[in-house]
Amino acid sequence: MVQVQGLTKQYGSVLAVDDVTFDVEPGKVTGFLGPNGAGKSTTMRMILGLDRPTRGRALIGGRRLAELGEPLREVGALLDASAVQPGRTGRDHLRVAARSNGIAPGRVDEVIAEVGLGPAARRRIRGYSLGMRQRLGIAAALLGDPAVLLFDEPMNGLDLDGVRWIRRLVRELADEGRTVLLSSHLMSEMQQTADHLVIIGRGRLIADASIEQVLHGEGARQVRVRTPAVDRLERALARHGLQARRLDDRELLVEGVPAGTVGDVALAAGVAVHRLAEESSSLEQAYLALTGASVEYGTADAALTGQVLP
């Protein structure tokens, strides 16, 4: 169980993380989602006690991480797979971790086998691919058999096999009753991996809900309607208390109703409808709807989608 309570981090006049509160429950994979620069990594660094919160606190199993004498037995984390000394071998890296937390040295070879690092563990990290570094980072996270696991963008730079392996691993870890927090800027990835979503944008909490709730919540019910008589339809919709947004001089976007309602209104008003479509309710679009207003450097829609769908 991870509790984030009113966590805030301010750099000068910039609020990187702004009063974020959420709980991460055991037995589930919780996806921590947000565009690049939304404050995901800063939040995770504060949970791990690496950065000092300006306000608020984060608790792991009811305690602040900085109080833990044997943190690896409570929480395993992979923040940045490159944050290792390249001159050391992978195995020596894990030996240091084991010694620092009083973990039996035999456990080192167990986790090396578990993540499939194999003989590469005896080579210097300098020569590792990003995928191997991710595996090494996960090996370190698993070393103390912790109840809480935090992974920051663990699928970055992995090939398909690696991605599948991580998906399977986080599922197993959650099924064993552990608390798993997994950050990503990829909605599609979360759709396949997470049970629950915590979404942040520009440092603020946007949503804390199950995948189903996000899927069927905001952004899912949008109807795009094309008509030669945009003005008349807009007035007719307004008479029915419906908000319509004009996309261009032929198209309207209506929120919060199914396509049938819009069609009925158009028929009653005697307006021709050339196209009527309910926007598909993919998580991706829900995510865009939720974070669209909060992308820090978003200038155009193209840039935004480019960021979310690389």
């Binding site: 690496l50 943190p71 009083g102």
Partner: protein, 256 residues
């Protein structure tokens, strides 16, 4: 998957673990070994050369411990680099973040991170100085080898290396950069103490006596013109100041 869980250890246990982790960190990278090799070649090589060289002097031979004292003067820099490289590279890679996940109590990490490299460098320096003394004496047995004098000399060398190591580790923790910390340590330990008096200007020479390099040189060779008390005070102020600044940086600032 099974990890035996025992009760969390007390402060002494945590310190012992952090120290053990630092020990493993030091010996599992090559730079430590290269620095030790460089120190060994410099100190023992210079000591031996000193012994061979004084053999040609017709006058009375100097005491053997002078070999180690002269040799440590340049040789200390390999050991200071060893200390720095136990601290600063983690800031370039971000590995300090990983380290703090494993040892989140920063006071515990600070004690281990300062203590272990400085202890290793000091012990290595004292042993190498002893080897230099013996090498010189072996090359020129006319040299006087008195154990009380030898012990006193090695004590001075230990103080110089301890002070230099603390200065280096403090600068490393504060500046978080190998190049920056290396430049700072070399400036106050080597370059300025020798450069400032060379101008022959009174205040520059006076200023140089306030630098740790001058105090270290005085404790080793008895020059420049200082007293033991003033040299000790200069070393204490510089090492203590650097350590306090480095400790603040590790304890109070964000990890990286």
């Amino acid at each position: 998957m099974s990890v035996t869980r025992t009760g969390e250890p007390g402060m002494a246990g945590l310190l012992a673990r952090a120290a053990a982790a630092e020990w493993t960190r030091m010996w599992t990278v090559r730079t430590t070994w290269w620095c030790l090799l460089a120190a060994a070649v410099t100190v023992v090589g210079l000591g031996l050369t000193f012994g061979i060289d004084v053999g040609g002097d017709p006058g009375g031979a100097p005491p053997a411990q002078l070999a180690g004292e002269i040799a440590v003067l340049p040789g200390q820099f390999a050991l200071l680099v060893l200390v720095l490289l136990a601290v600063t590279p983690e800031y370039a890679t971000g590995a300090i973040g990983t380290t703090l996940q494993w040892t989140p109590r920063r006071g515990v990490l600070l004690a281990a991170r300062v203590g272990m490299p400085v202890a290793v460098a000091t012990a290595a320096g004292v042993l190498l100085a002893l080897a230099a003394d013996l090498a010189a004496w072996a090359a020129q047995p006319r040299m006087e080898l008195s154990f009380p004098a030898l012990a006193g000399s090695l004590g001075s060398i230990a103080i110089v290396l301890l002070a230099g190591g603390l200065l280096a580790v403090g600068a490393g923790l504060l500046l978080r950069s190998t190049a920056g910390a290396l430049a700072a340590v070399f400036l106050v330990q080597l370059v300025l103490p020798f450069l400032l008096p060379a101008f022959g200007v009174g205040w520059m020479s006076a200023l140089s006596l306030l630098l740790p390099g001058s105090a270290a040189t005085f404790l080793l060779l008895g020059e420049p013109d200082m007293t033991t008390a003033s040299a000790a005070a200069v070393l204490a102020v510089w090492s203590g100041g650097a350590l306090a600044a480095g400790a603040w940086s590790l304890l109070r600032r964000d990890a990286a």
